[in-house]
Symmetry: C2
Subunit: 142 residues, 2 copies
């Protein structure tokens, strides 16, 4: 989908505990540092829909597993009307999901217990910068 980049990340094994890369300032998708925060999601729960209108998101699942659903309703986009789905996990596909502004996104906890999502955003959190819709306001069809 236009505006979605998935970058596989390195996980370096050590006997005492692995080292997991997340993001460098020289990486594709990096567009400045304003804040980093974490979002927990319980198994079977879904957060969303949310659309950021100014900020690129850089998302890394650091614990558990999370399924992302992305919806494009941008009229000038070649992929307008499309949905995309990807499941990320440090035990499965360990990758960074870069989302351009203007895309709708929801995410669901599919790991056991609590899954943990890191988000790097290029400016500090601003509640007026994002739009929200209830889970059932966008009918999801892949």
């Amino acid at each position: 989908m236009e505006g979605v980049v998935i970058t596989d990340l390195k996980r370096i094994s050590t006997p005492k505990g692995d080292v997991l890369h997340a993001m460098k300032c020289t990486d594709v998708g990096y567009c400045g540092f304003g804040e980093v925060y974490f979002s927990e999601i319980a198994h079977g729960e879904r957060k969303g829909w949310k659309r950021h209108n100014r900020m690129t998101l850089n998302l890394v699942v650091v614990s558990g597993a999370i399924r992302f659903i992305i919806y494009d309703d941008r009229e000038d986009s070649m992929t307008c009307g499309m949905f995309e789905e990807v499941t990320l996990s440090p035990e499965g596909r360990y990758a960074r999901l870069t989302l351009s502004p203007g895309l709708w996104m929801a995410f669901e906890g599919v790991g056991e217990g609590r899954s943990l999502l890191m988000d790097i955003i290029p400016e500090p959190h601003d509640p007026n910068e994002a739009d929200r819709k209830d889970v059932d306001e966008i009918e999801y069809r892949l």
Copy 2:
């Protein structure tokens, strides 16, 4: 200890999963973004000693619990010869540990299973920027 700052962080409760603050570009201790990465540590294991000579570290425990031991051997420091210890956890004391360059640090997994540490550094990882000593090379006495 000179060069150690501990900043308590907000954890915002929601029924589907909490939101955990980590760092903003306007926070005390922020000195640029070069990389963010994660270090796992198994229960009872200890990583360290390590000393960064140029970079400030900003450390947040996002899963489990980790005990940090910091040692100051900087001759020009008011706290030269001192040790400091702090245990951080998203379930206990949820805080960011900011460490100035020149301090020795070791950390130990004290949570059940795997604990997870986030580190924000002001430049991409450079192995020549840090010194290392084995765990038993610095005798730890609080």
